[in-house]
């Protein structure tokens, strides 16, 4: 490869980066759709099932979706009726139990938000988000 070709290639690569850099600067204060969540706070369906009776399943989907179907024994806790539903969840909660929160699918954000509030506001430990959500449950029913 001649030096001029290499130079041209480098110029092209630099030009390709320009729009990306511009966008990163322009949208620097924009919040992403999914709040970042450490891998340690996610749980796979297989892991959660292995915890057995020691798991409290929390359904973060809207009431209508919960009424249609849900994980057997799950408690409804969504942000539409947070103040009404939280005491019902806390009645079932105990320190030795693990809480697994799910919403519709991998891309939904409700379970992340509910889990975040349980950890930050109620200061509960062992709160996890189910990878793949309800869709994953249906697949592996």
């Amino acid at each position: 490869m001649t030096p001029s070709l290499l130079r041209q290639a480098l110029v092209l690569v630099a030009l390709a980066f320009l729009p990306g850099i511009g966008e990163a600067i322009y949208y620097r204060d924009k919040v992403s759709w999914q709040s970042p969540i450490p891998a340690s706070e996610m749980v796979t369906l297989t892991q959660a099932r292995a915890w057995g009776e020691n798991t409290i399943w929390v359904d973060a989907r809207p009431d209508e979706e919960f009424a249609r179907d849900h994980v057997p024994g799950a408690i409804s806790l969504n942000e539409d009726r947070w103040n009404e539903l939280l005491p019902q969840f806390l009645e079932k909660w105990s320190p030795e139990k693990r809480t697994v929160v799910y919403c519709s699918s991998q891309s939904c954000n409700a379970s992340r938000e509910v889990a975040r509030r349980l950890r930050a506001e109620a200061q509960l430990k062992n709160v996890f988000v189910l990878e793949g959500g309800w869709e994953e449950w249906l697949k592996k029913k």
Binding site: V31, W33, D80, W82, P87, L90, E96, A110, A122
Partner: protein, 220 residues
């Protein structure tokens, strides 16, 4: 050569002659609902500046809490309209960012993502919102700290317990306007629970703290 020039001219002509173009007045809307509002509604205005109608194929939202709808399914050339996105506030707090994905048959802008940002007023920040005592734990008070949000000054907190087996004592914690609530159960030998309602001054907005004495662990 002549054929090449003709093909090039024709392709340019085809590209620019029948153009559908939906122009958005804004694709991001920031809302600041007041305390007690039930919904936050964003309006995304559009205009078809092309000379072909544009049809909406689908409008999807990133959350079941947001509903979006358009005034018309098809926008004729030169016409204006808007998509309204309604966020149900419910028990949500803090900054909410929801996406509305609009699919159209306009090949140049087949997908547009609209952003609805709602900054919900946090009148009080309460930490923690849940306290508990294990079976036979010493029935000592546990403290909840109440911090008034930015732009909110709270003179007094009215705290009521739904269960008389728990008492709650409110004190001003510091000059910054924080309060502390000491919650104390009368006993920890049998299960009990309460919901404390917290009312800042005479506000219609009520906040909640839950307290519970746990059951004895089940025998193994």
């Amino acid at each position: 050569m002549k054929t090449g020039i003709f093909a090039f001219t024709l392709s340019i002509f085809v590209c620019f002659s029948a153009r559908a173009e939906l122009k958005w007045e804004q694709t991001q809307v920031e809302l600041r609902p007041a305390v007690g509002d039930k919904e936050a509604v964003g309006h995304f205005k559009y205009e078809n500046t092309g000379d072909k109608p544009v049809r909406f194929k689908s409008i999807r939202t990133s959350c079941g809490c947001t509903v979006a709808q358009t005034q018309k399914e098809e926008v004729p050339p030169g016409e204006k309209g808007e998509i309204t996105a309604t966020l149900k506030i419910g028990g949500r707090t803090g900054t909410q960012v929801k996406a509305v994905t609009v699919d159209t048959d306009d090949p140049a802008h087949a997908v547009t993502v609209l952003t609805l940002k709602a900054i919900l007023p946090d009148m009080l920040e309460i930490t923690p919102t849940f306290v508990y005592w294990t079976d036979h734990e010493a029935p000592k008070p546990k403290t909840v700290v109440v911090h008034p949000g930015k732009n909110f000054a709270v003179k007094e907190l009215k705290v009521t317990s739904s269960n008389l087996e728990f008492s709650a004592k409110v004190e001003r914690k510091n000059v910054a306007g924080d309060f502390k609530i000491d919650i104390e159960p009368k006993q920890t030998t049998r299960p009990a629970e309460t919901t404390l309602t917290i009312q800042p001054d005479d506000s219609a907005k009520i906040f909640y703290v839950n307290a519970r004495v746990m059951n004895a662990p089940a025998p193994q």
